[in-house]
Subunit: 133 residues, 2 copies
DNA sequence: CAATTACATTCAAGGAGTTGAATGTAATGA
DNA sequence: TCATTACATTCAACTCCTTGAATGTAATTG
């Protein structure tokens, strides 16, 4: 009550600062479907590797992401689950695809996770093409 | 899908930028309980008038607030209702008082709205004025 | 119309965020 | 150990945000 309002909302403002960038929102949109390695984000989003690392560092230092090493690759995942609620809340200003999380990203990179998905005979692209109305 | 991710999330990032400031979050916290005039915000938050106007302008231009003139006073209110959901979502990093919206701010200013609330009992200022000498 | 009230806008200096380029590092394999 | 892979960090130029100070403006009162 008597405390400085600027102090009281400092932590919350820091969280919003981390979200106040289109590249970081795009990253979170991909990671909504589960953890991904950096090379996958690079392929899907079309960002340069160093640029991506910088934005991932901001989200990591804000406590939104955590990373996990597995051999050569480092996988990032969302650990602050309330960002899902936040993104849901502003769905009126988000692109439509962000609101439906049922469409899986097509395979576009050479990371182990992508190769595992690829191994079944049909590629996702071919499958979608065959099953379109 | 093929569009630039930076473009797709530009609008959402703009919204978060407006929220990424402790003073603006403090303003929204007060306006949660209903519209208030600038002089009331000034008294409750302890900000200078010009500073307050600047922050209100940011929130207004982001489409979060709308203003309404009534005589001398200008009343601001929240028109983007999803900011309530956003603030609820990050309640883990918000001060406790923000999470309980049952405590009304005490009267601290001379705007018409505050004077209406004050009318039942004797106002301290009016009381002092009447009983001087 | 002049003065007052309540609020808005402009300006400028300083600070913080952005981003390309270059470089550093841990893990793996030969 | 040396090369490679996948990713991180640093640096610098640039842009954008922040904020105090000064000034402007619409509504009201006398």
């Amino acid at each position: 009550m008597t405390s400085d309002p600027l102090d009281r909302f400092q932590t919350a403002a820091q969280l919003f600062k981390a979200l106040a960038h289109p590249a970081r929102l795009a990253i979170l949109d991909v990671l909504r479907q589960g953890e991904e390695c950096v090379c996958h984000l690079e392929a899907v989003l079309g960002f340069r590797q160093a640029y991506l690392s910088q934005q991932l560092a901001v989200l990591r230092e804000a406590g939104i992401l955590q990373d996990r090493r597995e051999g050569w690759n480092i996988y990032y995942r969302i650990v602050r689950k309330d960002v899902f609620e936040i993104l849901d809340a502003i769905r009126t200003v988000l692109p439509e695809q962000v609101q439906r999380d049922d469409l899986a990203e097509p395979h576009e990179c050479d990371c182990p996770k992508c190769r595992r998905k690829e191994s079944p005979a049909a590629s996702s692209k071919a499958f979608l093409a065959l099953n379109r109305d």
